[in-house]
Symmetry: C2
Subunit: 233 residues, 2 copies
DNA sequence: GTAATAGTGTCTATGAGACACTATGCG
DNA sequence: CGCATAGTGTCTCATAGACACTATTAC
């Protein structure tokens, strides 16, 4: 057993439990930004919903605990690298004892999230981030931080969460960004901001009413897992 | 003992040790941004320095653990509300066992930091953030995140960390911001950015060579502890 | 007066918003 | 053709940088 400078091992220090709680965000076809909620286990009241979470297992990384919680609590298998938001450490925040919770955000395409909601409609639901209902603990603040985080990432870069499959049109891209931003965006200044990060494929979208839109792919494209809070500054 | 939905108590889950590590930043009179380092306890090599840190005690909040570590490791008594930066969770990051570390940043006025360095020069030192020397673990990344964090806070607001006592002149303020930014700033555009957040006291600074500078105080002044990562967005 | 520092008026480049205008498909 | 949607040229406004210019003190 390793000992530190006071001759103590790590087991001699009291250790809190560590949990992860995750805001899974997605863009609904209607153009709203929605968050995934799961029914609270063992809840006394009906309609008791919460963000999916779990306790960190031995030797497990935080990101892996997030992935495990999403699979266990919501049946989500395809997830991307979660991003940390904040550690909540209020000693009274869990009545079972001292629990630190590391809040995370994960953004997923609509189909992936909609499929699990359809599979388990009694246990899993989606709510617009502007109307999440009554939630436990500090979960509304986690959602607020999650939304702030991904809004900041969407300001300069086209679909940094890769919600759209390539190639896509500028109007498609704009609709995703409008859902994230929670407001409509000017087509012209949106185009100016985004085209430096896009490459024209020369193809156009077929079969729609109106003038066909040009199809683009991302350039300088970072993979979703690369994006961290720090990249923004 | 409280039990959860699986009939387990919290003690049935393995718990990691939780530590805090803190980058204490200050602005030296020479105009450099510096970080406080402490000599590693029980270090085998000489010149083994690290950011001050400690293990979280039972029932203790993270911010209180930060304050305690700064007093114990560096003799710093006057500290302000620390801000969280990131949780480092690499399972191999501490050879004594599984340790999560929550990185923080604290910004303090020069006199406060200089006093403790003078009191314990063998155990405590300051280094420019651009040249920290060889550090253990993930400490250089913590410093990088700390600097990014406070640079972002200084972009729009005059001296958000209250390093200057009121009233102060615009050139004094600019010198602080230049140290934080790590580069010189245009006097005129700096003035334009800052004056909306300042109130002219009508007084001027006496006794210096050259035209006397007008003294200002902050308006809309949040207290240091109020500022969080989220306020920036 | 000169030296030194504080403060400002103004030009220019950049980028966002607004908005009207053009372009190109479908029926 | 008309309708619907995509895309652009251009004006205006706000802001940052650059830089020369003025202002006010000590000596």
């Amino acid at each position: 057993m390793k000992r530190d400078s006071s001759g103590k091992t790590l087991a001699d220090y009291p250790r809190p439990s560590v949990a992860v709680d995750t805001a899974v965000l997605t863009v609904a076809p209607g153009g709203t930004l929605e968050v995934l909620l799961v029914r609270r286990e063992g809840a006394r009241q009906k309609d008791a919903w919460a963000l999916p979470g779990t306790f960190l297992h031995e030797g497990e990384r935080l990101a892996d605990a997030v992935r495990r919680s999403l699979e266990q609590k919501a049946g989500l298998r395809e997830t991307r690298t979660p991003r940390q938001l904040h550690v909540f450490d209020d000693p009274g925040r869990d009545d079972r004892g001292r629990v630190l919770s590391v809040a995370h955000v994960v953004v997923l395409p609509w189909d992936v999230v909609a499929a699990v909601v359809e599979a388990r409609p009694d246990d899993v639901r989606l709510r617009p981030v502007t109307d999440v209902g009554r939630l436990r603990f500090d979960h509304p603040e986690i959602i607020e931080r999650a939304v702030d985080e991904i809004r900041a990432d969407h300001r300069e870069r086209p679909d940094p969460e890769r919600l759209l499959a390539e190639p896509f049109t500028l109007p498609q891209l704009r609709r995703v960004h409008e859902a994230v931003a929670g407001r409509s965006l000017q087509p012209d200044s949106f185009r100016r901001r985004m085209t430096p990060h896009l490459r024209d494929t020369g193809e156009t979208q077929e079969g729609a009413v109106g003038r066909p839109a040009v199809l683009y792919v991302r350039v300088n494209g970072r993979r979703p897992g690369d994006a961290t809070e720090r990249d923004r500054r």
